[in-house]
Point group: C2
Chain length 197, copies 2
DNA sequence: CTAAAAACTGACCAAATGGTCAAGTTTTTT
DNA sequence: AAAAAACTTGACCATTTGGTCAGTTTTTAG
């Protein structure tokens, strides 16, 4: 599965070959077919695994009633995922770029429900005057876009920042703080004049 | 080229087949090889074309001396590109996900220089007290991430928003305004308490 | 008009692909 | 201890792949 995730991340579903996966896993190709049947089924297994990780990362959001802390924690956990499982993120990104043929149902049911739910929570906070008015769904979209980009497009940020051996822990730390700053300022949860750390 | 862009966007370099491109272009496969030689060369031609469009979209930024107007205009032009050339954006995204093997030089020279340059401009604005202090490079990263996501991951946003026939012009309009709000609030250029339009 | 250059294409090929299978080996069950 | 079940794998196959090429058609130049 790990080998498959890597190869699918690097080449997409169509471009990945079962022999490349077999080579990466250091197993004969026939063995992989014994366990997973077809390339399609293996891909689905990898995708299901990723969706599980994704969904479980969502659970954290919304248990506390403090918008600033909740949003910061969520951003931090999303960034942790971008750092620790970039390949998973890339497989997912590949699937989305292709129009999400295999996960459309998941997107428009479970994921949509989750977003609707959390957006309602954010709207409550706004109504209670706990944060500035924002488009709650788009706020969630922004958090996803800003955090996922550090996994999916690492090569771009790495090149622009002049890191020859990929992004460092410090880069991720800085990125995380900047995202938190942006999101909290958008929500009016930290004074804009404050210097960034 | 148009057909190739579409197929490469859908399947990535490895997954795209010359016959699929030929079919899409309604031409015999041999004809495509006559003009472009190899699949690799065709892909490079497509990529070069996209890089051109990208670079020219950058030119606008920085001519005026009004941060709010400049940033808004830039966000608007990036969103225009996400809407009008989503396939180009996806080809580029595919390349980045794969580690940018073919455009690494471009990223760490031209693009890096451009970012260094514009970040310096933003730093000037900050020094002049025209906007709140922010990490200028990360501000640019945020704008790119927030705008490109509407091309690359359209399928995701479309599913979550419950749009059965893809995103509408209005969705793009709302997204654009939300991104502008987020960026301007981050920069302290609009009061946070203001209601969003 | 003509001949040469350029553009085009159907038919083909070697290599790579996803997948199968029979013949084993190892592990589990009884 | 032996039978059954599960696992492993080298060799193989039909199909698809990127790419070629000989021959035809179209365009250009004198």
């Amino acid at each position: 599965m790990k080998a498959a995730e890597k190869v699918f991340a690097e080449s997409g579903f169509r471009g990945a070959t079962t022999s490349a996966i077999a080579l990466e896993a250091d197993l004969p190709k026939a063995n992989i077919h014994y366990y997973f049947g077809t390339k399609e089924k293996l891909y689905r297994a990898v995708l299901d695994d990723i969706v599980d990780v994704w969904l479980s990362s969502f659970k954290g959001l919304g248990e506390s009633d403090d918008p600033a802390a909740t949003l910061s924690d969520y951003i931090r956990s999303k960034m942790e995922l971008s750092k620790s499982r970039p390949e998973a993120s890339r497989v997912f990104a590949n699937e989305l770029i292709r129009g999400a043929p295999r996960i459309n149902t998941y997107l428009s049911t479970e994921l949509k429900d989750w977003v609707d739910d959390k957006a309602a929570l954010i709207d409550t906070w706004i109504d209670q005057g706990k944060m500035a008015p924002v488009d709650s769904k788009h706020l969630i979209f922004h958090i996803w876009a800003l955090t996922q980009t550090w996994a999916d497009f690492e090569s771009q940020w790495s090149a622009i920042l002049g890191r020859e051996n990929g992004l460092t822990d410090e880069d991720f730390e800085v990125a995380t703080n900047n995202i938190i700053t942006t999101v909290l300022r958008t929500c009016g949860l930290i004074p804009v004049s404050a210097r960034q750390q």
